[in-house]
Subunit: 217 residues, 2 copies
């Protein structure tokens, strides 16, 4: 199953305005992710102590347990926008111990050697497009899901292609007022989805949907 999990503002932005080196998520963008930083399930793969439990933690733990491989865009691999944005050879942003623990397939136009890390994370660079990347990720994921890690433009490409099965939006209680839209103007007609599950806490609302009517190819 192809999924994505992404935090957005109430007004539908996944990053604020003007991402910079100091503020890679843009103005206010860090507020989208505040809900996750204290959670045990998030802190452990990042090598941090912490034991915050509850419904938000269950959501994160579930997502980690169900993911067998991920797909991300090259900008997300290199840490968002910045001076390196147009450099296809820019180093990864994720350090010596990327917090995934599963194979990650990076969409890029430039071939590049794969990278493998001790904790099970690998980065494989795919130049053939979104469908071949999905095939490779599915093979790597086995029985588990393939998750689109981001950014928004990669999510939109898979939605347009009708390849997404389910997704979960974590709606943070903030109005960013401007930034990078998650869905944007997809350039498709209206498309139904089904509400699969709603979980809420005082910090965030998790909306899970099933795509019911993929477009004709």
């Amino acid at each position: 199953m192809l999924t994505f999990d992404i935090s957005t503002s109430l007004d539908g932005f996944v990053a604020g305005v003007g991402p910079t080196l100091e503020s890679p998520l843009g103005n206010g963008g860090e507020q989208l992710h505040e809900w996750v930083f204290g959670l045990a399930a998030w802190r452990k793969p990042h090598g941090l102590d912490g034991s915050e439990q509850g419904p938000d933690n269950d959501i994160v733990a579930e997502q980690l347990a169900s993911t067998g491989a991920a797909i991300m865009g090259r900008r997300m691999f290199s840490g968002g926008q910045g001076p390196w944005e147009d450099d296809p050879n820019a180093a990864g942003w994720w350090g010596d111990s990327p917090p995934f623990g599963y194979p990650v397939f990076v969409l890029t136009q430039h071939a590049r050697e794969a990278e493998t890390y001790a904790n099970g994370t690998s980065f494989t660079f795919v130049t053939e497009g979104i469908e071949p990347a999905l095939e490779q990720a599915r093979a790597a994921a086995g029985d588990r899901d393939v998750s689109i890690a981001g950014g928004a433009s990669v999510v939109q490409q898979y939605l347009r292609a009708g390849l997404v099965d389910e997704f979960q939006v974590h709606v943070a209680p903030v109005l960013l007022g401007d930034g990078v839209h998650l869905f944007g103007r997809l350039g498709l007609g209206p498309r139904d989805v089904e509400i699969a599950r709603v979980v809420s806490s005082p910090s965030v609302t998790h909306l899970r949907y099933r795509v019911t009517r993929p477009p004709a190819a």
Copy 2:
């Protein structure tokens, strides 16, 4: 208290593309409101039989009971976009028995005689701007809330002015892909809100928020 209640698509649109006479909510826009049409609390003020109960009905009944007056834009008064869009004297779209039952204040640039209906609805046309309209609506509402009926641009004007206290977004399970954004690019910095309540059914998710940090005037 100043509030608004509005149905949006999952991608944040309150109307689809290209509103026309036949499709005043734009392509796919009627799907935003499907959740409401069967509900007893909605059908009764529209003069229709119907007895669908449940959490969605409770939400609508609550909103009707708490509203003492409303504010709407001139385009909503005249039924959305269309050939009449630029005609300040266009007739109202709401027929002989507008389904409100309370005073409605219409923002317009053209003075016009007030209209009163047997069921308690009145339309008063306010040319002095959003704050005088709010003052008049508060006086008419008494102990009850003033609700911004729409459209999106009116909601945005009151949000920008820091005048909204609480609001509820009814998120319909559809991706419209394009249309009229509820929040759009508000032209303000990030602003926190608090999650006041989340209610979900298979048809729609009701997200209620409290505005915690109005901007400095």
